[in-house]
Structures are given as C-alpha cells and as structure tokens.
C-alpha cells in the first residue's frame, strides 16, 4: 500500500516538474532573477523584482517573445550569500531551464558569473557595483560600477577641500574592490587614506568602527555601504561624535527614516534616474509603475525594468534568425546589438568590458530630500 502511494507520489512529482506550474512550458520563455528576497537587503529585492515583473507584464501584453509568454522566476540570494546564490542559480537552470538571469549584489553576481559558461547562461546585473564585475565573460552590467561612482564622489570630496579620509565598507567584493579602486584614486589626487574600517554582512552596530574613525581625525568619511545599513552608519557616525562630511555612492529614501537629521548634508554619486523627467520612455515607465505599485520607481526598479526589455530584444532578434535562446547566443546577440532603449532617457550603450555608459550625478540630502548637485556625465 505504502509502496504504491510512494510510487504514485514520485510519478506525480516527476510530472509536475514537466508542467507549466513547475518548470518552463513549451509556450513560455523563463528569465531568472537572483535577488535579495530575504535578509537585510530585502528592500532591493522588492523594487528590483517589481521593475522586472512590470516589464514582463507589458511584454506579454505585446505578444511576449515571438508569441511565447515571458515568465520571471525569482531566486533568493539572501542579501548577498554566495552559497544561497549558487544554489538558486542551479535551481533556476535545472528546474526552469532559464538561459538568462537578472542578477543583483556583487558577491552573488560574481559567483553566478563563475557558473555561467558551464551552465550556458548570460547574466545582466543591474544592482551590484563592484569593479570585480568588470570584464567578465557572459556578464553585462546595466548599473554604473563603483570605479566610476566611487572616484566621482572622491573628486567631489577633494574639491570640497578634504585631503585625508577614512573609508568604511562591507567585507565583500562590493566593499573591498571599491575601496581598492577608491584608495588608488585618492592617492593619485594627492590625498591620504587614514583608516579603512570593514563590517560583516550581518552587522548592525558600527560604534567601534566610528570610534576608530573619529580617533583618526579624517577630513572626510566615505561610506561604501548600501541598503538600510547605510543610514545606520551615517546615524551612528553622528551619534558617536564624527562631525565631518560624509560621502557615499548609495541612497535609499529609508536611509532618511533611519538616520533622521544625521543624514542632512550627505553627498553621494549615483546613477541619475529622474522619475520626474518628461522624456517619453521615462514618463511611460513611471506612469505604469505608479499605476501598478502606487509608488515612484527608483533607479533599481528602472534598471531591472529596462534590463528585462534588453533581454526581450535580444531574444526576439535570435528568434528572427531562427537561433535557439541559449546563454551563449544571447550573450553574442547583446554584444552585437549593444545599444538599447533606456528609461533614463534615450538609449544606453553597453561597453566592451561589460559595463554601461549612463548618466551619473552627485546628490546631496537637503531637508530630508535627495537633491541634485551636479551632473557628471551625460
């Protein structure tokens, strides 16, 4: 009796894997996402998935990928855990037969990229910023990497009169590689790095790091942190007596909630997505996003929205040539097309080294609001 039940269950499970509810059906094209759906970076996972899901809805309403429905499958890297990321990549490939993954965070993306050739994948990263993501086969970055933003904000710090600085960053590729590039740039400018403080992925208390930074008496503090933690670091810097300027390359509205008045005056360099822009592509995206989610999109939502369209364009082009949608073919097609429509306005062009050229600007928090200070590139 039990053996028969077990056999029926096993057969059912095998059949389920072959059904649309489980794996990719014949009339579907699955695109995977590797996001922070739990843990400290859950906010990122939410907005990034919203951007991609909105794009998928629109694409399907327009007829999908050559008549096939575009399906988004989300994997959770638990806010940067490499082990979780690699296991989720395996799941997305083996269960959903995806050949393209929209990834996020630096460490998970680096880990997924290492598996890309073997699993015949192409990756598009719209969130991770580490210089370690540059020049990697089968990886395209649609977010400005920190070799651009970190050096841009240091230039601002230099122009503000800072000559010595301390850096605080997360102990992962996003922090370590950024600090390396930033340190070299600062030395070239003629400045001196007095201290580098690192923190663990699960850290929420930075009081000791701040004490060391204050003790070093730098002209400026640069926080290469992100997510909710970025606001906590800024708040604790002020709480524990650091009174100098604080620079960064990240900002979320919730950082203001966390840091309160302590974040006032904070300067940061960031991809310049302007939700108030009157550019037709931007306005259309923003209106659709507001209608769907009752909130304004940030640049993360924009990046994953347009990255989904980027993959759609590459897939449709391959279909027209009668080529299969393999990771290798998609990678080659993206390399061939290079220039894609962008909701930042106009187009975005992917470079040979897998990075992108996009508008970058320096912002400052004034009266609790992100305020444009100056545009760095157009």
């Amino acid at each position: 009796m039990w053996k028969r039940l077990l056999a029926i269950f096993a057969m059912g499970a095998m059949l389920a894997v072959g059904q649309p509810g489980g794996a990719q059906a014949q009339d579907e094209v699955a695109v995977g996402m590797l996001l922070a759906m739990s843990g400290s970076g859950i906010t990122f996972g939410k907005v990034m998935s919203q951007g991609a899901l909105l794009a998928a809805e629109e694409i399907n309403a327009q007829g999908g990928i050559g008549g096939k429905k575009l399906r988004i499958e989300i994997g959770d890297h638990k806010s940067g855990e490499v082990k979780a990321a690699t296991s989720e990549v395996q799941r997305l490939v083996n269960v959903y037969k995806t050949s393209a993954i929209l990834s996020s965070f630096s460490a998970p993306t680096v880990a997924a990229q290492a598996m890309a050739a073997e699993l015949d994948l192409v990756l598009v990263n719209g969130g991770g910023w580490s210089p370690a993501l540059i020049g990697k086969p089968r990886l395209w970055n649609t977010r400005m990497t920190s070799d651009v933003t970190a050096t841009a904000i240091l230039q601002v710090a230099w122009e503000d009169g800072a000559r010595t600085l301390c850096m605080i960053y997360r102990q992962d590729p996003s922090g370590i590689d950024t600090a390396k590039v930033a340190g070299e740039f600062w030395h070239k400018l003629g400045g001196k790095v007095l201290c580098e403080e690192k923190y663990d992925i699960n850290a929420t208390n930075f009081s000791s790091q701040i004490a060391k930074i204050r003790n070093s008496k730098p002209d400026a503090l640069v926080a290469y942190s992100y997510g909710q933690v970025h606001g906590v670091i800024i708040k604790q810097a002020r709480d524990f007596g650091y009174s100098g300027p604080i620079y960064g390359i990240e900002f979320l509205p919730e950082n203001v909630t966390t840091a309160g008045a302590a974040i006032e005056g904070h300067k940061f360099a960031l991809d310049e997505f302007d939700a108030k822009s009157t550019e037709p592509a931007t306005a259309k995206f923003v209106a659709a996003y507001r209608a769907r989610y009752k909130e304004d999109p940030d640049f993360y939502a924009a990046n994953y929205y347009e990255a989904t369209y980027l993959l759609r364009d590459a897939m449709v082009a391959l279909q027209k040539e009668g080529k299969p949608l393999t990771g290798g073919n998609l990678d080659a097609k993206i390399r061939q097309i290079r220039t894609f429509p962008s909701v930042y306005g106009g187009t975005m062009t992917l470079l040979d080294n897998g990075t992108v050229k996009k508008p970058v600007a320096v912002f400052q928090v004034k009266n609790g609001q992100k305020t444009l200070l100056k545009r760095l590139t157009d």
């Binding site: 906010t43 923190y199 699960n202 790091q209 909710q228 909630t257 309160g260």
Partner: protein
Amino acid sequence: MDLLLQLLLNGLILGSEYALLGIGWAIIFNTTGTFHFAHGIVYTAGAYGAIFCAQTLRLPLPLSIAGGVLGAVLLAMAIDQWAYEPMRRKQATSMTLLITSLGILIVVENLVPIFFGTQSLRVAEIATVPFSIGPFFLTNIHVWKIGVTWTLFWSLLAFLRYTRPGKALRAVGSNPQMARIVGFNLRRIYLLAFALGSVLAASGAILEMADTGAVPHMGTMAVLIASMAVFLGGMGSLMGAALGGFFIGMAMSLSIWKIPSEWQLTAGFGVLVLVIAIRPRGFLGGKVGKAEI
C-alpha cells in the same frame, strides 16, 4: 587612551543590549527547557507593535511602547500555547520543539514585510539626542539602553527571589516533575516565563528600533546573540546570561582596538568558543547548578 575609553563606553552600551537579550531568552530556556528560536520574532513583534500603535492607531508614545510590549507578550504566549504545548503533550523531543520554533521564526519573519513593507521603520516621536561627556560620545537612547537593561535585570532577580510566582518559576526550572508533584501548575508557570522573557525582548527591540530602526529580519541576529549569551554565561543561570551578553558586547567592541574591524564578529563568536572550550558549562554554569536563577 581616548579611543580605548570610547570603546569601553561602546562596549557598555552594546553589552547591556546583549545582556537584555540574554536574560529574556534565559528566563524562558531555564524554566521551560524550550530552545525558543521564535523569541526572534517576538523581539521583532515588540518593535513593530510599537510602530503600529504609534503610526496606525496614533496612540501616545507611552501607550505605543506598552502596546508593543503587550503584543510581544501575547504572541509569545500564543506560540507556547498553540505550538509548543501540543507538542509537549505528544512527548515531542526538545529537538522537535527547536525545529518548530525555527520554522515559526522563518515563517512569521517573512510575513512581516507583507504588512509593514521591507523598509526600515522608526517611531518618529522618539528623538535621538547625541551628547558628549568630555571626549566621549553617546545618545539619550544609549543611556536608556543601559538604564532599562539593568533596571529590568535587578527587578527580575528581585521578582524571582522574593515573590511567590518568582519562586515558582525557580522551582519549575530546577525540577519540573517535583514541582508538578507538589502542586505547581506548570502551564501557568510556563506562560509566565514566556511573558517575562517577552517583556525583556520587546523592551530591547523597542530601544533598538529607536536607535537604528526596525527591519523585518531584526530578530534573527537578536536570538542568535541571546542564545550565545546563555551558553557563554552558563545554562541555568540568569546572572550568567547577563554576564555572557555583556561579555560578548564588550569583547566585540574592544576587539577592534588593536585588530582590524572585519574581525569584530569573529571576536564575539571566538570568545564563546574559547570559553566553552575551557569551561564547557560557561561562566557560571558549573558554580551555581542547572537551574539557579
């Protein structure tokens, strides 16, 4: 020298925070023997309960804080009544209870963003006021953290030592079978332990929310630190749990005086491993016996 003294002050703040976590978890573990991982979600409920009362119900701050604590207590008692107790009746092993507790933590923690969103939240009425004492810096919230922790700790010790329900808690923690035979109602005592532990957890969570903001996953690290504090201090000892938590916080703060900051968390766990290797029963576990609270 200024740096060392500031790190000591930071250690006092962090150590107090961790001591509060340890005491709250210890009162439940010592009394009921339940490895209460779901304490993490009770902790989270304290912070979000206060936020809900302040922002949605528009209650005054003291009532919002009371609401957060009450919400956490009710959640913990509900978990014990409807999740743990039915399993205890079926003679479930402590490992089964542990897995159940972990499951509750994961499930409920993932429900939090559905109701409150993923972003960091704070009660706006609680203002942070930084100030300095000579060259040393801290805020009003840090003073509250230290004050609340040690006030609650000594109050709890007095409750356990001088009141009838407190003595009942100690008796049940010491020998539940004997306590039942002499007429103690174990269900009531267990619920009391969960309620007391949750008051401490919620107090810590509300202070943490006031300091750095509440996020859905805030309870996971809290319960990890709490259990570390209990093992370091010695199972069965409330004083040990306080000492363990305080020691971890102080070690994490002072460790980066001379070593790079990326080793901070390692230092905290390293202390635990070292102490357990030398004294497997923790700081006070060997001296005061299993259920001395």
